[in-house]
Symmetry: C2
Subunit: 229 residues, 2 copies
């Protein structure tokens, strides 16, 4: 049997850890990729390393990108603490300030580059509709459009469609994701979802991401192993 | 009159310098972007700075990305000096070894991120059919597919199509590009096209890129200011 390789985008959070476990369960040899882009919540990088090791990834790569000087998001720009006002008011109200410009496009592009080198024709990403809440690059239409780009951008694409962008959590609730991961042996104590986690990976318990995660464990009726500060 | 802003992908070469001049001539306020991705031909970064200043860009940003460890291209991977053989033979013959995995996808993604922050709805890239010669991400179909991604990935895209990926050189010959740039005042002595230029920006005169460029000046009947070593 031929080995199927996949590149898995790993943020260190609950969703992408579950995606990694799901890809492994489907028989993929998994190559995980994380990004050091000047994010405030640095402990997610340590979490990604731990998760990759615990869930049997073949290789874990951290790509550095200096999005830091680009501005535009409270996740990377420490000068942004309150929503913008004025001309951009509507957009600022609809889309969380934790949005990073073109983030998933950048991440998928770099995953595609590595996938091409590895001859890994499946790229997994943990986006889902619950997380959408205003992030345009979490929608299925975006994922499908990027898959088209992937197949036009690459050597393999010259000879026809080859790459698949897999988003297996797309339509799952947070509780369903937690149930799936628990079945597949994910240790969620290793994961960090909090936007302002401390350097030991402990969570605030009050940000949007923490709230979604807490409610997910409650709804799944599974013990929440998250450490809060 | 409102200011039109544009992000211009600038490699330091002849094509992208011409694109910058063309965007300026169309009245855009130009923000230029270059990438430090571990390329062998480092003098292109110095060239990009000089070109941005000479052609009146408002700001020039250099984004660092560590594609270096990703492998797969002779432009970044010093262990690759001869074409691959074996199973990949056909692809290796058709596509130059100077191909960098998913390069234009990565570059356009980062340009999109900056464009979103700047509210610059036009992104210029200097791809053209002459340069294609096996690079899939220089084709118009790729550019169009990426434009669709751009408009699905972004805040602005939520409310309808907004971004345009402009590739004004797409169907121009090298000679026509050189004639256009010369009309627009581009000093091609500032540009570096050579894949193995030295650290003073002098060119080898024999690589594919040098050969195309030389022939372009000949065909345009314009004096070639390139310095060769």
């Amino acid at each position: 049997m031929l080995t199927k390789r996949a590149v898995i985008l790993l943020s260190g959070g609950l969703d992408s850890a579950t995606v990694l476990a799901a890809a492994r369960a489907e028989g993929y040899e998994c190559y995980t990729m994380s990004f050091d882009y000047g994010q405030r919540h640095r402990s997610e990088l340590a979490a990604s390393r731990r998760i990759s090791a615990a869930l049997g990834a073949v290789e874990h790569k951290v790509i550095g990108i200096d999005l830091d000087g680009m501005g535009g998001s409270a996740l990377t720009d420490s000068s942004l603490a309150i929503p913008e006002s004025g001309a951009d008011k509507t957009a600022a109200e609809d889309i969380p300030l934790t949005y990073v410009p073109a983030r998933n496009t950048v991440f998928l592009s770099l995953a595609l580059g590595w996938a091409e080198v590895l001859k890994a024709y499946d790229i997994f990403i943990g986006v889902n509709d619950v997380d959408y809440s205003g992030y345009p690059d979490c929608r299925m239409a975006f994922i499908q459009a990027f898959e088209k780009v992937a197949n036009l951008a690459t050597r393999e694409g010259v000879e026809g469609r080859a790459f698949r962008i897999q988003a297996p959590l797309q339509s799952m609730s947070k509780a369903a994701i937690i149930r799936l991961g628990t079945q597949l042996g994910v240790d969620y104590a290793l994961t960090v979802s909090c936007y302002q986690a401390d350097n030991q990976g402990r969570a605030c318990g009050v940000c949007d991401s923490c709230t979604l995660r807490k409610q997910g464990f409650l709804n799944a009726d599974i013990n929440d192993p998250t450490r809060y500060f």
